[in-house]
Symmetry: C2
């Protein structure tokens, strides 16, 4: 079954944390749609300046049109968490129990959306305290699966992360 | 009275949020010492690649040798908050009630140090939820002064921020 996956992304994403999962999704027949701050804008990765064109602004999309959500890491989540439309969009996937995949700094958007209380989650070492303060249960493992939510810590976890995401989608 | 001010800094600091306060401190006769992850390393600002040479690693400095602490914003605090020596250093200034100056993402280090509970503070819009979850009382003003702690939101607040910091040091 093909899934429509919304990738929420902005400038300064961690290149490999976008590239590898996006490629894995597409290779397995899933469609990826880039949701960001401004439709048509070209955003860039932090280290390799990987270009990504935003397909739709968060203000113009409906969560009902997507089957799953993916939030790459780097500093992209920091730039997205001030946008109320992005936060509303992200919150909706968690409330509906649809698959949500986050890695590295991705959980920052779940913190701002106030949907981490009581959830097992992992992420970048730098946001451990933020996750705990948000009521999340931080677990230091390469992949943490809690219901609809799959999370990983950093680029080294990407193979296991991609495998777990594809398994949930299948 | 000359003060010795420790500036805690790493790569990807917001250039102007370092440049302007550091210049103001020096013009007013205060000494600034750059404390970071590795002594002798040259770190760079995010937008203008302003170079800053680290005078001492946090592991090798004693808070007792400094009169005040300044934490510029940008993504420098994110890179510093995983270092236990940096966190211990920062926590010490708050516990001792010495002047602590933070702007933008600077409060992230205070969150990891668990010293924000019940404190009035401001900062970057992106970390409002993190500040609240840490027990901080977020206030949307250009300068917030709570005892020893002075905080501002972003580069636009720099003139008021510098004035308030210099006043506390005098």
């Amino acid at each position: 079954m093909m899934a429509k996956i919304a990738i929420v992304i902005a400038d300064m994403f961690e290149d490999c944390e976008y590239i590898q999962p996006a490629a894995a999704f597409k290779e397995n027949g899933h469609a990826v749609i880039h949701v960001g701050l401004k439709s048509g804008e070209c955003v860039k990765g932090e280290k390799e300046q990987t270009p990504v064109v935003i397909d739709a602004a968060a203000a113009d999309v409906k969560p009902a049109d997507y089957d799953a959500l993916f939030i790459p890491g780097g500093y992209s989540p920091d730039k997205l968490r001030t946008d109320a439309d992005v936060i509303r969009f992200v919150r909706s996937f968690m409330k509906d129990g649809k698959p949500v995949f986050v890695i590295c700094h991705g959980p920052q958007l779940l913190i701002t959306a106030s949907v981490l209380a009581g959830r097992k989650v992992t992420g970048s070492k730098s946001i451990i305290q933020d996750i705990a303060n948000a009521g999340g249960i931080f677990t230091d493992r390469e992949v943490v699966i809690d219901g609809n939510l799959i999370s990983s810590r950093n680029p080294r976890d990407l193979p296991a992360f991609c495998t777990a995401c594809l398994e949930m989608l299948s």
